[in-house]
Symmetry: C2
Subunit: 231 residues, 2 copies
């Protein structure tokens, strides 16, 4: 393995627990709602919404906007059609308030001592900045698809991150809990580290976290990644 210089991290599911965070907030605000189903449905709208941008059918818009559109579509199904604009905006902000996995802050802090660590998420810059400030995620730099006006797996995002640092793609290690993100990163020349997050979709929906040989590294969590990188 060539030692990388820059580590870029997927965020939703990899560094923060979107399902658990949304479930906790929904249960508090709307105890009558099936919070697990709501969180799953909200996230299920994510790829189709971005696809409209990726396919070129729609100009780039921030993920905050897409999250809100998906939310507006969901509310009637969950008996929440009466929420007004301010209530919807407040609820949509939950994506700025996601909690980190228990190992994330400690793992990133160790990794930061040796590498430049950046987010590389489809979340917009403001969302990622608010999240990092609240959760204490110690990024050296907040990178987002918004910087490159494109959504992963668009090659511009992976190649753009390397170009920001005048790095060869192989000097960049993409860290994610999703094999499709890592496959796209690899196609663009980046090294890849898979992080197991078996409960990303909640305890009712465990996911397969089997190793894929094409990845450079495979780690249980970010502390285990730091171990493997000698931090």
């Amino acid at each position: 393995m060539t030692v990388p210089r820059i580590l870029v991290f997927d965020i939703f599911g990899t560094v923060v627990d979107w399902h658990g965070s949304i479930v906790r907030e929904l249960r508090q605000r709307f105890p009558q709602v099936d919070a697990d189903a709501f969180a799953i449905a909200w996230r299920a709208g994510y790829q189709p919404a971005m696809e409209a941008v990726r396919s070129g059918g729609r100009g780039f818009v921030k993920l905050d906007v897409l999250h809100r559109e998906i939310l507006d579509g969901l509310l009637p199904r969950f008996g929440l059609a009466a929420l007004d604009d301010a209530q919807r905006a407040e609820l949509n902000g939950v994506w700025h308030r996601l909690d980190p996995w228990p190992d994330s802050v400690a793992g990133l802090t160790r990794l930061k001592a040796r590498f430049t660590i950046c987010s590389l998420s489809n979340g917009n810059i403001g969302l990622l900045t608010d999240m990092a400030k609240r959760a204490g995620l110690p990024w050296d730099c907040v990178l987002s698809g918004e910087v490159f006006q494109a959504y992963k797996p668009d090659p511009r995002v992976y190649r753009g991150a390397a170009a920001v640092f005048d790095a060869a793609p192989g000097e960049v290690l993409m860290v994610a809990a999703h094999q499709d993100d890592l496959a796209a990163a690899r196609d663009n020349g980046l090294q890849t580290a898979y992080i197991e997050r078996p409960l990303e979709f909640g305890v009712a929906h465990p996911k397969d976290v089997s190793p894929v040989a094409a990845n450079t590294l495979h780690a249980r969590d970010l502390l285990h990644l730091a171990d493997q990188l000698g931090c």
Copy 2:
């Protein structure tokens, strides 16, 4: 004064001491060179180089590239024409290694406790990230003209920073040691804070740091700014 939500900072001269840092590095590497004149000449090429981009005559290129072109033009005048490409690249990297003013880290740390703090510099993202990591500048987010593919005082930079945070321009406070930067920020609706940096150009070239009434705030340094903002 409306209390701002986001503080954005000019970097060269405002947060870091470019003149002193370049002089120190040049004296160490090339003691035969007039380091003060070299630093002043390098910086003097900055506005004309960006103007080629701002006028639309040249597509956006990173400041690292402009710094290198200016450097290449200067070296013969200072008897350094023999430097090879690697030596020039290494010297050009001094802009990534600028030292903060003595109050910068402590002042930013206090301001960060209450506000979202971001760079908003014409320096490129990689330059600003390397600088922050080395100097311990605790940005919540590294914003750069590179994000907006434009150089200050292009309105896209000031308005873009507000848009990143879905903020009204008046919720953003631009902090700089340069009245022209602040005037442009003000023209775009931002609040402004002037920071005195009388020795920005070195002890041989003190600059006028008189207050301008149009600014929202006027501070001796970033600690004094934190005092005024109740941090």
